[in-house]
């Protein structure tokens, strides 16, 4: 047989959780097992690749024969044998397991820059990265460019910080370059704490070398010789892959003394976070690296002046750094043209929630939210109707249907009452209660508040208590006004970004879904039937077959009825757990 065969198995966190390690091992085992010619196995290899984004259909496997790619979804180890014999040996793909249209539309609308290597190359192998022009940019920057030249390119590219606030990266670097100090630091913020966001994780797991290369270039641009990558503790795989990548770089002479033979020294270390959302805030992150409580410190100085250990520090997030090598290689113009007038490039977004195609996507800045939800995301799951798009995590807000044509960029999203944030987007449908959603986010920020300043420590707690009141039917007139007042107060007075943005989910839902709040307060009803205390379960006598399934599962013994006759729920006893609702096969149970 005269074929070049390559099998790529996704091994991101999502893939691994779906069993990709076993799938990969099975492929490897099959290839090397007896009965297959040695010459064949030389040209047939199975390799791990990073996350390609479409985690909903994991384990995804590419089978590439002579450059022709076929992708399988939901692959399990026991499917490997069939794929191997039918497709690889006999050349007939297993049609029923091949990905469908969704997979392709999911990818069509995307422009992959940062994610271009994810799902394509082996993240644990520096050679794989070098084979796709890896470390070319760093070598160029170190051996043939001045710091100012690099800064200029980054400035011209219009790249803005992908961590959330969107500060122009070039300006930050220029400031870092200009401040003289014998010790300076470059920090990569990999403390991706927003629930519902996993862009940085995917990049760190899928293309760790790109991040390191971006940092090396930044080190040169700002003349720093020490770097840290701060990775949150919840990302063990990212830590492992970065660690491997750093070791490979030291071996290759890309890190350490005299990098790339240029005479420039740069040391890079990983610092593992210990589980605190607020450490995503720059000053808190630096306190954390210093070994302290991650409490934000007042910004008397800019980080570029006095950051880590009071030394000048340039801090960018993972995605920002991953963009850098591409900008250096392909030029500022190319990058700038990708985006909008005010912000260049693409944005990686993690799309999740009640949407068909969940996963990681990358779009040029300027696409509309509608395109993301309906084209890339493939619309709402289960034929339900769209209610809101939550962007920016706990610091962001909810955008309603009528604003779906908003373009994705820093300013437009802010105008819509939300933020770009790090790029998490969660789709909410008719079954999501907006008050509950706001409460969820506030619960999160409240529990993650560092406790230092009054508005965040006590203010968010009081807001949360009001929301709890509302969702349990104890809301009263004036609550909404009080919520709004507190929200604006906290926004105006908090010490750090976490506190200032904490009220956003509440304020934005109040802005677009005020009626839903009012229903909770005035009618004691939750329109989405989510808030437990406000719903009543009852059995439709006409539909009930009297099968008794609900009665058996009820933990409170609240359902009575004779077999084959309609059952009844005793609302006094009902604890509103919803178990019967899920158990009924005839949709005879309603919740209102």
């Amino acid at each position: 047989m005269d074929k070049d065969i390559l099998i790529k198995v996704c091994t991101g966190t999502g893939g691994v959780a779906s069993g990709s390690k076993e799938v990969l091992e099975t492929f490897k085992g099959t290839i090397s097992s007896a009965g297959i010619a040695a010459s064949f196995s030389e040209r047939c290899s199975a390799q791990r690749v990073g996350c390609r984004g479409f985690c909903a259909q994991d384990v995804l496997v590419d089978v590439i024969i002579n450059g022709e790619k076929t992708t399988y979804k939901h692959v399990k180890p026991d499917m490997v044998g069939k794929i191997f014999t039918e497709h690889i040996l006999n050349g007939t793909p297993v049609a029923e397991w091949i990905v469908d249209k969704d997979y392709h539309t999911f990818h069509q609308k995307q422009t992959k820059v940062v994610l271009s290597h994810c799902g394509e190359i082996d993240p644990e192998d520096i050679h794989a990265y070098r084979a796709v022009d890896g470390y070319k940019a760093a070598k160029m920057a170190l051996t043939s460019m001045s710091s100012q030249e690099i800064v200029n390119i980054v400035k011209n590219s219009n790249l803005r910080g992908r961590g959330g606030a969107g500060f122009p990266t070039g300006l930050k670097w220029e400031l870092g370059l200009r401040i003289a100090s014998d010790i300076k630091y470059v920090i990569c913020n990999g403390d991706e704490g927003d629930p519902g966001a996993f862009m940085d994780r995917s990049v760190m797991e899928g293309d760790p070398h790109a991040v390191i290369e971006g940092m090396i270039i930044c080190a040169k641009a700002t003349e720093s010789h020490h770097g840290y990558i701060y990775v949150r503790a919840e990302y063990p795989l990212a830590v492992k892959r970065l660690q491997m990548a750093i070791e490979q770089c030291y071996e290759a002479g890309f890190l350490g003394k005299n990098t790339f033979g240029s005479g420039f020294d740069f040391d890079l270390k990983i610092f593992q976070g210990a589980g605190a959302f607020v450490c995503g805030e720059a000053t808190a992150l630096m306190r954390s690296i210093e070994g302290k409580r991650g409490m934000p410190t007042p910004k008397l100085w800019r980080s570029a002046e006095k950051g880590l250990w009071d030394r000048p520090t340039v801090l960018n997030n993972v995605e920002t750094f991953a963009n850098i090598p591409r900008i250096i290689l392909r030029g500022a113009d190319w990058f700038m043209r990708l985006g909008t007038e005010r912000s260049g490039g693409t944005k990686v977004i993690s799309l999740s929630g009640k949407v068909k195609n969940t996963g990681l996507i990358e779009v040029p800045l300027g696409v509309t939210l509608r395109e993301i939800v309906y084209e890339i995301g493939g619309g709402i799951e289960g034929g339900k109707s769209f209610k809101a798009l939550q962007t920016g995590g706990p610091s962001g807000g909810c955008i309603p249907e009528e604003l779906l044509d908003t373009e994705v960029d820093y300013e437009s999203l802010a105008l819509a009452g939300s933020i770009m944030g790090s790029g998490g987007m969660v789709v909410l449908d008719e079954t999501s209660c907006m008050v509950n959603t706001a409460k969820f986010f506030l619960e999160f920020t409240q529990s993650e508040s560092c406790g230092k300043c009054t508005p965040c420590r006590i203010g968010t707690k009081r807001m949360l208590e009001i929301l709890e009141r509302i969702t349990t039917g104890r809301g009263k007139e004036g609550d909404l006004e009080l919520l709004e007042e507190l929200g604006h107060y906290i926004r105006a007075t908090s010490l750090c970004g976490l506190g200032m943005t904490a009220p956003n989910p509440v304020l934005s839902t109040l802005r677009y879904f005020r009626d839903e709040y009012e229903q909770h307060i005035r009618n004691k009803k939750c329109p989405a039937a989510v808030c437990r205390d406000l719903i009543t379960y009852s059995i439709l006598e006409a539909v009930c077959t009297g099968c008794g399934a609900c009665k058996r599962v009820c933990p409170a013994d609240a359902i009575r009825g004779v077999r084959k006759k309609p059952h009844r729920i005793n609302t006094e006893l009902c604890v509103k757990c919803g178990t019967c609702f899920d158990a009924c096969k005839f949709k005879a149970i309603t919740k209102v």
Binding site: T13, G14, V16, A17, S18, G53, F54, C55, A56, D58, E192, G193, D194, P195, G196, A197, F198, D200, R201, S202, A233, E234, Y235, Q272, G273, A274, G275, A276, F277, S288, I289, E290, G291, K292, R293, G294, M295, S350, S352, G353, K354, T358, G359, L360, Q390, G393, G424, V426, L428, S432, F440, F441, F444, E448, C450, G578
Partner: protein, 153 residues
Amino acid sequence: MEEILQKILGEYRENEGNIISILQDIEKAFGFIPEETVTWFSKKLDIPASRFFGTATFYSQFHLKPRGKNIITVCRGTACHVKGSEKLLNRLFLELDIPPDEETSTDSKFTIEKVNCIGACGIAPVTILNKEVLGKMTLDNLMKEVKKIKARE
């Protein structure tokens, strides 16, 4: 114990570590942060014990009490929340007989933890059973897994 601590101290000195890395090593070695270890390091390093305590209680990774043999982590990220992770959590607390306001079962066999999004939103809701990440978890499957562990015990 002294030996383990000495080893951690050696690594700390070698890698210019800090309080957090020491605590991470202690947590790894003991499963929680025993008070004696903090006192020991505080004396050795001339760092007030209050710093260790303040730091240990700030980060969710550190625990002041010994934890159960099996650790079940439920992701409480947005996507998982939307896909019903709260139900999983409530059921676990009920099933494993964990006292209110605690996270470890009375027989010290199970500890339930919440985590703020492990970034596997594509396969929500996610749980981690003794370090193994399991996606698209349902109540039934979770109970099956718990039963498996219980049987092993």
